[in-house]
Amino acid sequence: MKLDMLYFARLKDSFGMATEQLETEAASVDELLTELRQRGGHWSSELAAGKAFRVARNQELVRLDATLSDGDEIAIFPPVTGG
């Protein structure tokens, strides 16, 4: 299936990209993260288990066990700092 990936703020800078389309068989956010970490470098360090980052599926915050469907918009970003 295909996912529309979005990266924001520090993660966008670290990964060197703001968006990508990802072909994956990951069934959950957790599996997706494992796959991204395998890219190594900033991907493995920024998305390490203890790191503070958030995942949104179709513009709603979700937990690691959230499931994925074809065409989902998945955003990964640092804790927010607006206001």
Binding site: L6, F8, A9, R10, D13, A52, A56, Q59, E60, L61, A75, F77, P78, P79, V80, T81, G82, G83
Partner: protein
């Protein structure tokens, strides 16, 4: 008048006009506003400007959801949230929250609640630009998490 409004914009806003807009309801005796401004210090010192990024679409959605939560908790006749994005110089306004209610306690509580959640839930990120040109992403504050937590 649209009583519950969320606006994400680059340009500045007129605080007085926004308060006046929510002051027209003859049942509303209390209007509270919060303005957040670019300070000269944050995570670092000698800040010259901020650069604000957001997640278009999700931002508006999450802010309307926060207003909905506030309406369930307090008697709220109207509320406005305006949050700017892009580059903001020292002293410029970043965010404005205005709440209107028949009761001052409700107007105060709702405004503070909206700000606390804005700081912890709405997808905005701040970058500090120092006077010497160095640039750093602002780190999320434990104190903001704590402030938001007290409403739960």
């Amino acid at each position: 008048m649209q009583p519950f409004t969320v606006r994400i914009q680059h340009e500045g806003f007129d605080c007085g006009a926004e308060i006046a807009r929510l002051s027209g309801n003859p049942a509303c005796g209390a209007v509270v506003s919060f303005s957040g401004l670019v300070r000269d210090y944050g995570d670092r010192q000698n800040i010259a400007a901020l650069e604000l990024e957001h997640y278009p679409g999700m931002t508006e959605k999450s802010l309307y959801a926060i207003i909905e939560q506030a309406r369930q908790r307090w008697q709220l006749q109207a509320a406005t949230i305006i949050h700017r994005v892009g580059r903001l110089a020292l002293g410029e306004a970043i965010v404005l929250v205005v709440t209107a209610s028949s009761h001052r306690k409700d107007a105060f509580a709702a405004a503070e609640f909206l700000m606390d959640f804005l700081k912890t839930e709405a997808p905005f990120w701040k970058k500090e630009i120092q006077q010497d040109g160095s640039v750093h992403w602002v780190e999320a504050k434990a104190s903001d998490q704590h402030a938001a937590g007290r409403w739960q």
